[in-house]
Amino acid sequence: MINFEYARASDVADAVRQIAGDPGAKFIAGGTNLIDLMKEDVERPSRLIDISRLPLNKVEETADGGVRIGALVPNSDLAYHPLIEQRYPMLGSAILAGASQQLRNMASTGGNLLQRTRCYYFYDTATPCNKREPGSGCSAINGLNRMHAILGTSEACIATHPSDMCVALAALDAKVQVIGPAGERTISFADFHRLPWDTPQRDTNLEPNELITAVELPAQGFRTNYTYLKIRDRLSYAFALVSVAAALELEGARIKEARVALGGVAHKPWRDALAEGALRGQEANPANFRRAAHMLLRDAKGFAHNTFKIDLARRAIVRALTQAARGTPQSQSNKKIR
């Protein structure tokens, strides 16, 4: 862990000014990911700009019927916020499927989006890793890759994005609001995280000198037919092998609108317009769920230890869509899978 300076941002403008003035600086919110990475010498910021006290901690309704979540709203507060519980229960469920109570109390909305992969090699500076040290090589491709991606991988990197919350946000078509020296802009969730391609060092399309101010949810919340199903190696406090955020809008037995996002399988929450399109207008039944699952995984490619994820993901998708269609979302406290 390196010696670093610490400064507190007095307001949003000050935060942007400070980060623009020091290319080695980083924002710190809850610190639950950044500090771990600093202890491992993976992140070596010259200065930490503490944004945790900025007034970005509100959850409020927007004019177009959606909800705006401040970047510093803690994960726990968000999961239990009445607006989320009542209108976007899939988001609350996804958050509660992640990490532990203590971590969720500290973790912020913005920080959750920017948490980095849990690839073992990324964390261990004694090994090559393109994400940590571009050009050094990917140790996981021929190494331990049981936790790694099966979709959208590149020869440079096969890491996954570990967030649960982001999988639900992707399914909900959220938007990320950011501010930088050039002003404010909005990034759609699909464009926020990147695939590794040959630049795995870049997880997202956020510029290093930009600050996330909020995440905005559109009006449609899928409050009736949704689920977040997370499959992992122990029943709590473990990252997903595969997770599925599934949301349906039903008209009788027919699917009017469908959203399926996968976690634990790619460098970003994985959505597939074709598969979702194939569900629209169809009956909500197992055969159609299976067809969508196969479509979602059609380009999947496994590595030495993670090929099992392909079939597991298919099964999880079918199960999640079944839970969503029945209106029996997965409980995050009772670990029996519904």
């Binding site: 862990m1 390196i2 010696n3 202890k39 010498d41 849990r118 073992y120 090699y121 261990d124 004694a126 090994t127 140790s139 021929n142 190494g143 331990l144 049981r146 499959i231 190696d233 122990r234 029943l235 709590s236 406090y237 473990a238 092998l241 099992f308 079939d311 597991l312 099964r315 999880a316 079918v318 199960r319 670990k335 029996k336 899978i337 519904r338």
Partner: protein
């Protein structure tokens, strides 16, 4: 006389622990204390060509960077580095030379005024290596494994394979029903909560007081004296509390060597705390490939057992335990054969981890027995009963006590085993397949020589001391219970002192041997106290005990009481006041007069229920019943906690635990407790612990066997067997993760 023994008594050190009053090795302070941060090797094998510490030394607050290049002299013989639990070979010497023998090996210590500065500077130390090819994969070296031969001289005779009996090959070949299977257990680590740490206090006159995390203060003290050529009186080692050891603290660990080196070089007090990652080179449960062959008659009697174990150790020491011997010991079988081979890898030496050899050896045996039961179309419990043995099968001796049959019966009844439907996949609960599995557990009831001192004061208080450790198991509490009963005093009048090398002799705390050993030590020393009190009581005018013989009095309720006639009594306080003594001090050593005619073991029967999601393979262990026979239970509360913790660990062994090595780098990749998974609350449901009554009149005078380890044995097998029963799928390599159910 037995007011406290056997009662559910809360830990007497509990309050100190939860209030933070109990101090651990890294929490002691000293004037001018400086801090060391360890630099470790990034390669698994080779030599250090150059250590460039110039950047580190430039950091303000850095005092020194120690390595093999500039350290003070250390002993140069293997014997100096051999601690009381060292295996055969040449022990690792921290910062001794340029040779790298495992990845993560300590190679330098950065010492600074503040721990943060030391840690930062440690990241700036550059090391150049001359790298050599390494092997860390047991399967790659399997064919070069070295056979261990049965031996008559210790320690090989204790830890090597037992002598075969009959002809297992022939009997297996002609057996009507046969099962052969290979079972794999990966490397596992202890992962105690407390980080390894050493605070070495420089006392000024060349003397050191060392607060070290260890399971044996006198072991560390002798080791430090050996390595640094110091006089015993100059080294005092203390470890009053320990945040979990599980075997990782049996041998002195490298942090103490580094801290002493720095203290001597700088003539200052030094603290070294390892990081969580650095704890993954302190020893581990060896990876193990086991092959079991069982031959039986259709009626379910065993004809042949062959147990072959291949276990892992380092290139420089041969650590092994008797994994294979349990198979021939447990069940009646005329023909038994054992093979144990050792694979030497470029890793640190493996070591003891909770219930070494039995946790793993019995896992393989009990899975194989389950498979045999399937082949025989017999209920798994019924098979165990048909093979039941009242004698130690390896040595053909009777047991001093064995209540395993009662474990089977009481465990099965509490679990409802008779309602099991035998076919796999025949029980379900909605989307989940339900499976019931069982297994037997066995462990040793060991006792070690130990010394105890008791100082009784005229105010009726007693201080009981011994250099043993309480590694978190509840030793303080049971010592106080036993002492209170033996001295006839209220428990709150008893003070326990332990974890200090200047106290009366004790070996390391391990093997579940301390409860029996120290309790008998207390009883023996209390006898001497009682004798002294009787001498004083007899001197009183008109003493009611004037004619009492030494065996005709007991201590109870603060009095010396005649056992034939309870109305004759003298209070302890009166006897001492009259004799004008304000303290009686006695110290006695005890050894165990074991004539070798009987076997001593603890036993258990474990029953588990699992529910497995049929589509997704997600496994939940919904119920466990563990019925344990472990002699006299000193404290139902702490004993139950030991068994519960063991069961949780067994669940982890079955489903979660695995140290992941990247064989290209020869390095542990999941060296932290987020990625090295152990069960969390959600993985643990209903655990019922039953203590079966097991009087044992010969093992020792209090009938104690010890139970820190028996609780884990059989659990992994019972879970694996339940998963088979639920799914029809037999997974023979641990941990049983859901992907293995898909294969």
């Amino acid at each position: 006389m037995q007011k406290y023994i056997g009662t559910p008594t809360s830990r007497i050190d509990g309050r100190a622990k939860v209030t933070g009053e109990a101090k651990y090795a890294a929490e002691f302070n000293a004037p001018g204390l400086v801090h060391g941060s360890v630099v470790t090797s990034s390669i698994a094998k080779g030599r250090i060509v150059r250590i460039d510490a110039s950047d580190a030394l430039r950091v303000a607050g850095v005092i020194d960077v120690l390595s093999h290049e500039n350290r003070l002299p250390m002993a140069s013989t293997d014997s100096a580095y051999k601690d009381e639990t060292a295996p055969k070979g040449s022990p690792f010497r921290p910062l001794y030379e340029d040779r790298i023998m495992f990845s993560g090996q300590p190679i330098a210590l950065v010492v600074a005024e503040e721990p943060e500065i030391a840690r930062f500077a440690a990241s700036l130390v550059r090391v150049e290596y001359d790298e050599e090819a390494h092997v860390t994969d047991v399967f790659r070296r399997r064919d070069e494994a070295v056979s261990l031969e049965p031996s008559t001289k210790p320690p090989e005779s204790i830890f090597g394979p037992p002598k075969p009996r009959g002809s297992a090959e022939k009997a297996f070949a002609s057996a009507e029903v046969r099962h052969a299977g290979e079972y794999y257990v990966p490397i596992e680590h202890h992962n105690p909560m407390e980080l390894y740490a050493s605070t070495v206090v420089w006392e000024g006159d060349g003397k050191l007081t060392i607060y070290d995390k260890t399971q044996g203060v006198q072991n560390v003290q002798r080791y430090v004296c050996g390595v640094f050529d110091m006089k015993p009186d100059d080294v005092r080692v203390m470890s009053a509390y320990m945040g979990g050891g599980f075997g990782s603290g049996l041998r002195p660990q490298y942090e103490v060597v580094l801290a002493v080196l720095a203290a001597q070089a700088l003539e200052r007090s030094v603290r070294v705390v390892l990081t969580r990652q650095q704890m993954y080179v302190l020893g581990y449960r060896p990876a193990m490939i086991q092959r079991i062959e069982l031959g039986a008659r259709p009626g379910g009697t065993l004809e042949a057992i062959t147990h072959e174990a291949i276990t892992v150790t380092s290139q420089y020491e041969d650590f092994y335990r008797q994994e294979s011997g349990w198979s021939g010991l447990l069940y009646t079988c005329a023909n038994a054969k054992y093979v144990h081979k050792l694979v030497r890898l470029d890793l640190p030496t493996s070591c003891d981890m909770r219930c070494p050899s039995a946790a793993t050896g019995v896992y393989a045996l009990e899975c194989a027995m389950d498979e045999l039961a399937v082949a025989l179309k017999l209920d798994p419990l019924e098979l165990r009963l048909r093979c039941y043995s009242d004698r130690d099968q390896n040595t053909n001796r009777p047991y001093s006590s064995k209540s395993l049959r009662a474990c089977y019966h009481q465990g099965a009844e509490a679990f409802g085993w008779d309602k099991r439907s035998p076919e796999p996949r025949s029980m379900r609960d909605g989307n989940e397949l339900v499976g019931w599995g069982m297994a037997t557990g066995i462990w040793e009831a060991l006792q070690v020589p130990i010394a105890v001192r008791i100082v009784l004061s005229a105010n009726g208080h007693a201080e009981v001391s011994c250099a043993t450790s309480d590694i978190g198991t509840g030793t303080y509490t049971i010592m106080a219970q036993v002492a209170a009963d033996m001295l006839g005093l209220p428990m709150e009048n008893i003070t326990i002192k332990l974890g200090d090398s200047t106290l009366p002799q004790s070996p390391v705390e391990g093997g579940s041997w301390i409860a029996a050993s120290v309790s008998n030590g207390i009883a023996t020393t209390a006898d001497a106290i009682r004798g002294e009190l009787l001498r004083l009581a007899k001197q009183m005018p008109n003493s009611p005990l004037a004619d009492a013989g030494p065996d005709e009095v007991a201590l109870a309720d603060g009095k010396l009481v005649s056992t034939p006639d309870a109305s004759r009594a003298v209070s302890i306080v009166d006897a001492m006041r009259h004799g004008a003594v304000d303290r009686i001090e006695q110290e006695k050593s005890t050894t165990f007069a074991d004539d070798g005619s009987k076997g001593h073991n603890t036993h258990s029967a474990v029953f588990t229920e699992v529910k497995v999601d049929e589509q997704l393979g997600v496994i939940r262990v919904t119920r466990v019943v563990n019925a344990v026979a472990a002699g006299r239970i000193l404290n139902i509360k702490t004993a139950r906690s030991q068994i519960m913790g063991s069961v949780v660990w067994g669940i982890g062994m079955a489903l979660h635990e695995e140290t992941l090595l990247d064989h290209t780098f020869g390095r542990v990749m999941n060296a932290n407790i987020a990625e090295y998974q152990v069960p969390v609350n959600a993985d643990v449901h209903d655990i019922k612990v039953i203590f079966v009554d097991e009087p044992d009149a010969t093992i020792n005078r209090l009938g104690i066997k010890g139970l820190g380890e028996i609780g884990i044995v059989g659990v992994a097998a019972a879970v694996a067997n339940a998963i088979y029963h639920a799914t029809g799928k037999r997974v023979r390599d641990l941990p049983i993760t859901l992907d293995k159910l898909q294969r």
